[in-house]
Structure formats: structure tokens, C-alpha cells
Amino acid sequence: MEFHKPRTWPEALAIKAEHPDATPIAGGTDVMVELNFDVHRPDVLIDLTEIAELREWFTVDGRYRVGSGVPYARIIDELGATLPGLAMASRTVGSPQIRNRGTVGGNLGAASPAGDAHPPLLAAGAEIEVASVRGTRLIPADEFYTGVKRNAMEPDELIAAFHISPADGPQQFAKIGTRNAMVIAVCSFGLALHPSTRTVGTGVGSAAPTPRRAADAEAFIAGELDWDSPLPLRDSVKRRFGELVAQSASPIDDVRGTAGYRQHALSVMARRTLGWAWDEYRRNR
């Protein structure tokens, strides 16, 4: 195994162009498990941790551009108030040790349907910035995930950052697991209320080949919410929203849970997170 340590982003892109099969490594919390268990034996490893701009975030025209190498611990500490949904999901990632090292970029690169960052990125309408020596492009989150552990990136591309708007309303995240730490999601759900556009964003995790939005549920609830004089939501509305979210999934039976359980759990999480977020919206008006 050859180990490359680029010091600048152009250097990293040049290495990836020359070695399209190379595995990028940042926090190592995913890649190292595969190395240790010999699941994956890459010929070339690209260490991205020396590239300063991957660990930075700033705003561009009111949107946040968060470098792919910003660890979860810093997303929680520095962006918790701005990106509450992503911060909630980040708090459920692994353990303090894992959150010190693991990154959203790694979650996106691995593109596991169970990755915790995906539902809040989908719900907030984030875009993924990928780059190669050929140039840079933005991929909307809901076009980024293309299959189990597959994404829309070309072999010569690396993930530079994600772009996400600061929350314009309450956001929620819920996740099912056997304990509160060190858990790969049985299933998960992210929700974002967008009062500025009078829409609701959703993200379903670990209940389909890819993380995905629940489009029918989004359309249904957008027609039900009265943003100007918000009343408590009727139970029937919350239940219907939960049913539509569950229907958007196509889960399987696996070691972590059954398809039936996942659909049931999704409907409960969707119903509850909607209630919590809507109550928060009403309180803050």
C-alpha cells in the first residue's frame, strides 16, 4: 500500500486523477475498519488531513460551506445553533472518540444507507461539492446517493465540502438503535420545517438502498400546515404523515432489524419529530 500525503487541494486532486482507485482517508473511522479486517486492501491511500481548507467552514451568499474534513465534534460545537438537525444527528454518531475524528465527508464518501449525516442533509436540501482536476460541481443531496454504498461521484473526484442553508425553522432527528452510543442506525429520520418557503424537508435513513426523501409525505404535510396561525396538529394529520414516510421506504430484513419493524419505527419517528418541530415553531412565533 502506497501512502500519499498531499499538502494542498490541487495536489490531492492530481493524485486522485493519477490513481482513480485510491482510497481517501480523513478521520479513518470507516476506512480503518475495512483495513483492519482486510475487507479492502487499497493500493493507494490519500491522507487528506493535512489540507487546511477541508477543515474550515464559512458562508457564501448566506449559505454555509462546510469542509468535508470538519469532524462531528466541531459541527456540534461550532454549528449546533445554525444547523440543528445535522448537529442532532452528529451527537448520535459513535462515541466521543469517533466524533473527534469522523467527518461528514467520510459519511458521504462511504454512502452507507445507515450514515447518520444523510437524513439531515436531505431534509435541509444540502448540496455536495465534489472536485477533480477537471473542475468543481455541486450535487444536490437527493441526487448524490445512487445505490448501496454508491454515490454520484466519478472515480477521479474527491469531496470538498457540503453547502447547506442555516435553519430557517425547527429541525429534528431521530434514530433507532440498541443503545444510545456506538450504534449503527436500525433506521433514522430527519425533518426540517422551512417557514420561509412554507415547505417541510425529510430524510429517511437505513430503510432503503439509499438514504432518500419522503416526497409524498412532504407534499401532504405542506398542504396541511397553517404557517400564519399555527394550531396544534391533529393526531390524524401526524399519523398520516407517519404512514406516508413509512411508505416511502423500501427496507429489508437484516441483522439489525426486520423490514416490518423499520416501517413501523419510521412512522412513529416521523409522527413524533413532526409534532416536536411544529410545537417548537408555534412556541417561537
Binding site: E2, M32, D47, R74, T82, P96, I98, A167, N284
Partner: protein, 207 residues
């Protein structure tokens, strides 16, 4: 109106407005307009270009417990294996080798990480602290003393990781309640279930 989106920490807000003045429109060109920069490596900007280490052995130096230690490793060797098998620092334990148990917890620049998920060659310019580096000669660290006083172990296999993790947790200030301690120790599993004693030991030191 709900406005949490408009209230990132005041500190950031200030820096953000300065950034707009600087005109950070260009995405990749805006490297100077940073939100927060942490630990830019010493090699940054080296005109020598990217470093390539071959598939065979590589001579490296690790700074462990205040001492520079020279060793030869293949690029795929983890920090955990380098510590245990090359440097004879066997206090750091291998439990799961996949970051789930916390037995291999060490400090890298004061931050707790799983040594099994860290490549040795990726921490050459860092300060590494293992369980062997906590005592001063024969004088145990306060956390080590408290674990003895509280009998915070049974078989002892997870204990080095627990103690290193607890040392960082106390420095982080996550000790306001037993519940908070449990939450922030959640990356360290004890199969003997000495948890009540571990929490009591940490509370003793934090007090």
C-alpha cells in the same frame, strides 16, 4: 419568528461579516476566509510537494509520552499495533479493532481517539499520550488513584482505555452530573460492568 438560523455564535457572526467584506465568493479560492482553523500541520505549504511513502517499511518517529521514538512501519500499521508491538507499550489494549470498545483509547494532541482507527504514519507530528504516560514515576495520576480507591474494574482489560478516556473527559469538563459522565464515557465498554464504580471514580476526581 423562529430565528435560530440567524444566531450562530456572535464570535462567528463577527468574523463572517468581515469575510463578506473580504469577498469570499470564490469557493476554493476562499481558503483565507476560514470559519475556524485547527492544527494546521507543520508541513503545510511545503514546496516539496506531496509526500509519497512506499509500500515497504517506512522509518518514522512518533512522539509518545514526551519521548521521540524511532521505528519502522508499513504504511498500513495502526497506531495501536505500533504502540503494542513495536514500542512495547502494551498498556493500550486491543479489544474490537473497529473503534467500538474504547480499550485502545489514547490521547493525540490531548484529544481522545481510538488508536485502532489511526494509522501510525498519520500522527507523526502529534503528541501521543498512552496509559503509561499518565503517572509521574511511581506517583499515579489522580484518575488512576481514584480507580484504585473505587475498585473501578474487575478483569482490568478495559481499564487503561477507561482511565485515558476519563482523563480527557475531565479536562473537557463533562463532569457536571453522573448522567453526563456516563454519556461522555459511552465510547468505553466494560464487559464486567464496573460502570457505577467507574462513574464514582471520575466524580471523585472532578470534585
Amino acid at each position: 419568528m423562529y430565528d435560530s438560523g440567524q444566531e450562530p455564535v456572535r464570535d462567528n457572526e463577527n468574523r463572517l461579516s468581515r469575510r463578506r467584506v473580504l469577498g469570499s465568493g470564490a469557493l476554493l479560492g476562499a481558503a483565507t476566509a476560514v470559519g475556524t482553523t485547527v492544527g494546521v500541520g507543520s508541513g503545510h505549504g511545503d514546496p516539496a510537494g506531496p509526500e509519497v511513502l512506499g509500500a515497504g517499511g517506512v522509518d518514522i518517529t512518533l512522539r509518545v509520552n514526551g519521548r521521540d521514538r524511532a521505528l519502522r512501519v508499513e504504511p498500513r500499521v495502526t497506531l495501536l499495533d505500533a504502540l503494542r508491538e513495536r514500542l512495547d507499550l502494551t498498556g493500550t489494549k486491543k479489544g474490537c479493532d473497529q473503534g467500538a470498545c474504547g480499550a485502545c483509547t489514547v490521547l493525540v494532541d490531548g484529544e481522545r481517539v481510538n488508536a485502532c482507527l489511526t494509522l501510525a504514519i498519520m500522527v507523526r507530528d502529534k503528541e501521543i499520550t498512552t496509559i503509561e504516560g499518565l503517572a509521574r514515576g511511581d506517583r499515579l495520576s489522580p484518575v488512576q488513584e481514584a480507580f484504585l480507591d473505587r475498585d473501578a474494574f474487575q478483569c482490568g482489560y478495559c481499564t487503561p482505555g477507561q482511565i485515558v478516556s476519563a482523563t480527557a473527559l475531565i479536562a473537557e469538563g463533562h463532569t457536571r452530573s453522573a448522567e453526563e459522565i456516563r454519556e461522555w464515557m459511552s465510547g468505553n465498554i466494560c464487559r464486567c460492568a464496573a460502570y457505577p464504580n467507574i462513574v464514582a471514580a471520575i466524580e471523585d476526581v472532578a470534585r
